[in-house]
Subunit: 252 residues, 3 copies
């Protein structure tokens, strides 16, 4: 079974996601296509990068992940395929794979520049590489084409999102939870954090745990393997006045 | 073919639904996964219970339905599997299966407490049992594991939503239609109802039937096999000032 | 492999789309079901017609497309199946297939009135033909039933949306891009257009091309094979004060 996941900012109201699926099934009718989401905020590469990181590792090895958050479509930004952690990732070289490069830094990931246009749609538009390049390339990979057949290996120079050296809020989910880039396994007994000048000293094991008042922020080990800051029945982002990219302090 | 349906309140913007699908496909790559919805209003167990009731019976016997509207995740509420009407249902014991217990009251349904942790994800978080317990258990069931192998049978004591003895508005759909718990087959020639002190004496066979003015409420036999109250091109809930749980009177 | 696509205005919050999928899988468990969208604006036949046109041609020949935007459900409007361009289309005869009739005008498309009720759901409601007629008919087609077995051929008299003779804005997508009914291949070197009394003389090859200021409209060859009018990072519909159905002038 060949699984191909889709992650885009296309929304689900227009024909875009459907068109990608049609292209894939035209090339590999046996592909199993799974939507991760099409609701990445428009052109928000960092949100796409986090969601791809959090979702991909639940899939079996060999899964092919197509990620398209692509404000530079049609320009000179490179289309690439990344082989990392026994998964394949197809999309634009614009930072979307930043957190994968970090996750697999010790695993010898490989990046290839997609130039073998015989695997692209016959006619490539300048506006819809999701349909015209990334979907057909993913389908070709699912049919057994090797990443190394798709173009030259890129050895350095891939685009990364700017990443702070200090701990950071890397994502705010649609509940308003603040996801940090701090691995929870480093703090098996809990930890206190500070953001925006405020210390958060309550650590909870699960959301429903009845400690403290509404709107009281707490630290929790989130499902992506990262520490999160949440509030009871509300948005931590709003309560704490925090935005993505803000620094986090680990209190000892 | 093993069909697994998903019904959650996770939304489709984050990685949650995708993560559940990845876990299922990791355990049973041949499972056919069908989204019923991920847009149950957050933590609205009653809305989830109605939607599960209305959707499940359209699927073939043997279908496995995963339902996760789970405000008590990580607490002591029990994870369960329910065998009813030749379908299997996997989710939390918090009332989500109330209408199924009512529908299958004469069919000897069985409930099992999920305790066989060898079928869970290796590491179970306190925040995401959809991924860590319910998805892998559903995949195990689709691979042929018997419900009775998953834990002890529960004989009474399962959680139910409070249900009025008199007829009730049990759901308001996103068009604002009021769904009652009155089976339409009891009234083959139509019926008049009253809600919120107002009699609704017009019965329509279909929505487009051109009777009466805009905003005039009417009774209709809805697609879930239950009587509904609707208005022409608007929200019956707003026009009539009715909310879920309000009583309905059957006028003779 | 039998592919069945779904395009509706049902939204994804209720059980409606899930019910259609359950019915299809009950009749053909091997059908591959693909959502195009369930977010056509309620009862907006023209939006459904465009989205179906834009999506369908990406799917392999033999695909069965179910389209349900059906304000007249339960009335005398005819359920039909259209065979065109080696695809099959199932839905109401209310204009939803207008652009397909235009696209395949020289290809001898055929239309059949769905009357063979043995292929319908055993009990047909007056409110949900998506589940009760269109889904089971699509499943029957995927099992090899011929369109000609489903009812009499309709020779003329099918419903079409009113179509202007002059070029027209036929769709506004959810980014606010204006899609015309002018085939881009007629203008390989670009073209200037005028809408609402304003000339748009900039032609861009792709959205990201850095020409002009924000809010400056430009013409672009869109991914549906039609000319579009867009603005940099905004809604062309709002900037230009244009609505669907407005005429477009081709400037020479």
């Amino acid at each position: 079974v060949s699984i191909i996941t889709l992650l885009t900012d296309f929304g689900t109201a227009d024909h875009f996601a459907g068109a990608m699926k049609g292209v894939i099934l035209s090339i590999n009718p046996k592909a199993v296509i799974v939507d991760i989401t099409h609701e990445i905020p428009p052109q928000d590469i960092a949100a796409g990068a986090f969601t791809l990181l959090a979702a991909h590792s639940n899939f079996p090895t060999g899964t092919i992940h197509v990620a398209v958050v692509d404000p530079g479509v049609g320009s000179t930004r490179r289309p690439i395929v990344v082989s990392a952690g026994d998964h394949l990732f197809v999309g634009p070289d614009n930072g979307l794979f930043t957190y994968l490069y970090m996750r697999y830094v010790n695993h010898d990931y490989k990046i290839f520049h997609l130039t073998a246009s015989q695997y692209f749609r016959e006619s490539v538009s300048n506006t819809f590489h999701g349909r015209d390049i990334f979907a057909p390339v993913a389908a070709a990979l699912s049919n057994g084409v090797k990443p190394s057949s798709l173009g030259e290996q890129i050895r350095g120079g891939q685009i990364r999102l700017p990443v702070r050296e200090e701990p950071t809020i890397i994502h705010i989910d649609h509940f308003g939870n603040l996801i940090t880039d701090i691995a929870d396994r480093a703090f098996p007994k809990g930890v206190s954090l500070a953001v925006n000048g405020r210390a958060i000293t309550t650590f909870r094991r699960f959301y429903g745990e009845a400690i403290g008042a509404a709107d009281e922020p707490f630290v929790i080990a989130g499902s992506a393997g990262l520490l999160e800051i949440a509030v009871n029945g509300g948005s931590a982002a709003r309560v704490l006045g925090v935005k993505r990219g803000d620094p986090v302090e680990i209190l000892t």
